[in-house]
């Protein structure tokens, strides 16, 4: 992009927007110009949402899911089967699995995946309550991504559960869910969960 095309303040906004996933320079330009045409009130409202995003949307203290409250809606739901825990890399994946309608247990959000090369060891993952939660469950489904980092994370968790009386299963491989499970479609996610294999 020609950096002289816009004043610096607009340029800053364009560059910020283009950091979002799937947004190229041209789209960022269009979005920034569109925002500029909004009324002051609309922009103020939008800005407030951004400023309070982290404050309003918290992590569930039990599972790590997005939540407005201390605990998320799933953890508070008495109809959910707490003896079966599905482990996901990020909270975004929960929506995909929920939409698939193939799972009625509870979740555990790791908030990342192992990558020692990039300095992400087990200490960087949400594992503090993982083992104790598993002690009270009968099955844990490892729904980490089907790529190298996801496999490594799944096999590490399996090691960690060594000696714990629990069925460990892994979502089915070879189902075209893509490397990023957050964007998998619900039908293939349902298939991946239903044809999970016990490790």
């Amino acid at each position: 992009m020609n950096d002289n095309l816009y004043p610096d303040s607009l340029l800053k906004l364009i560059k910020t927007i283009s950091r979002l996933p799937g947004i190229g320079k041209r789209t960022a330009e269009r979005l920034a110009l569109s925002l500029h045409s909004w009324s002051d009130d609309e922009l103020k409202f939008f800005g407030e949402q951004l400023i309070s995003l982290k404050e309003n949307v918290k992590s569930c203290s039990t599972c790590g899911n997005f939540s407005d409250e201390e605990e998320c809606k799933i953890c508070l739901d008495l109809n959910r089967d707490t003896t079966i825990i599905c482990v996901v890399e990020n909270a975004g994946q929960i929506a995909v699995i929920e939409k698939s309608g193939s799972f009625n247990g509870v979740y555990h959000v790791l908030a990342g995946r192992l990558s020692p090369m990039n300095g992400v060891g087990p200490d960087k993952l949400n594992l503090a309550s993982f083992k104790s939660r598993c002690l009270e469950a009968t099955e844990v489904i490892l729904a980490t991504s089907p790529d190298f980092e996801g496999e490594a994370t799944a096999s590490f968790l399996t090691q960690e559960l060594n000696g714990v009386q629990i069925n460990i299963s892994r979502i089915a491989q070879g189902i075209p869910v893509g490397a990023d499970l957050s964007f998998a479609d619900s039908a293939s996610m349902a298939m991946a969960i239903n044809s999970r294999r016990t490790l």
Binding site: P116, P122, F148, A152, F156
Partner: protein
Amino acid sequence: MGYLSKLTLENFRNYSKADLSFSPGLTIFHGENGQGKTSLLESIYFLSLLRSFRTRNVQHLKSWKTEAFDVSCVLEHEDLLADHLQVTYGDKRKLQVNGNAVSRSSEFIRQINAISFTPEDIELIKGSAGGRRQFFDIVLSQLSPNYLINLQNYNKALKSRNVILRNDQGDNSQESLLKTYEQLLIQYGSKICYERLSLLKKLEPKIAQFTKEMFPESKKLKLIYQSTLGKNLDDQEALTELYIKKCQDSRAKDLSRGMTHIGPHRDDIFILLSGKSLGAFGSEGQCRLASLVLKMAAAEQLIEDSQTDNVLLLIDDVLGELDADRKEAFLRTIMRGDQVFIACTDIPEYCQSLDYNLYNVEEGSVSLQEE
């Protein structure tokens, strides 16, 4: 069988812009040295493997003072629509197939199967083990889609294990993490070793045949896979068992140095000519011939393989030192490829009886010579 029908370069080496059309069979790039013949071969090689045979630094492929280079081609197939492949390299690499972005190199590189024959090939014999491993890895990646993925995963497991080894405080706190990556290391590493050994076996009869044709006096060229895991690795299960044991044995040493001492990343392929190490004792001429033989065997392997849609052979300046008989033996073999590109200052006599397209190359511009 597939072939390249079009090649377009932009800001690639000394070409600000070039458009070339090809037919199957033989194409000759003719011109004086330093005019850009090799760069044409290099661009085809780049579309095939996303690397150069001349430099490790991809930025060197960009024309002087330009932001990005662009190489694209049309790849024709026998029973399918042609594919349009494109690589753009600025700050980042952008791969496209028929206008659709491709994110992984492993999805891009099996489309064109190119093998290059260049003067630098002598490094296969005289150079370090890394070059020989890379030669095997490239051929195996061309033969099997899974090989490259396994290799990439192996390298990730290796790097991860090394980081964990270096972070170790000697208090066992990393034990299950280390175990996790050792399992992956062995899972992928044993596949790599096994595939390399299998390829070596398949190449053996071809190497024997080409050695007979290429070496003036009767000599035996032998390749031995020298693994850090040990000997007798033919059985995949036994190999994995041995790997597990060796990995355990090596653990203390690995911990103290913060690196992994055993595995396919440390293996070598010994090359012997009539029982003696060629790299150490062979003459320059013998080493050149042997490197040609290895490449010829690899090309033959790709040509034989039923999965490959095309085999493109890129010949740069390797004919000069061969006598007439060897030259003919070499050219006869490589003409078995679906498409052959030869860069030369003098058109080989053997080629003159064949049909070919002739491009004249001069100062970064190419012109097709009309009949």
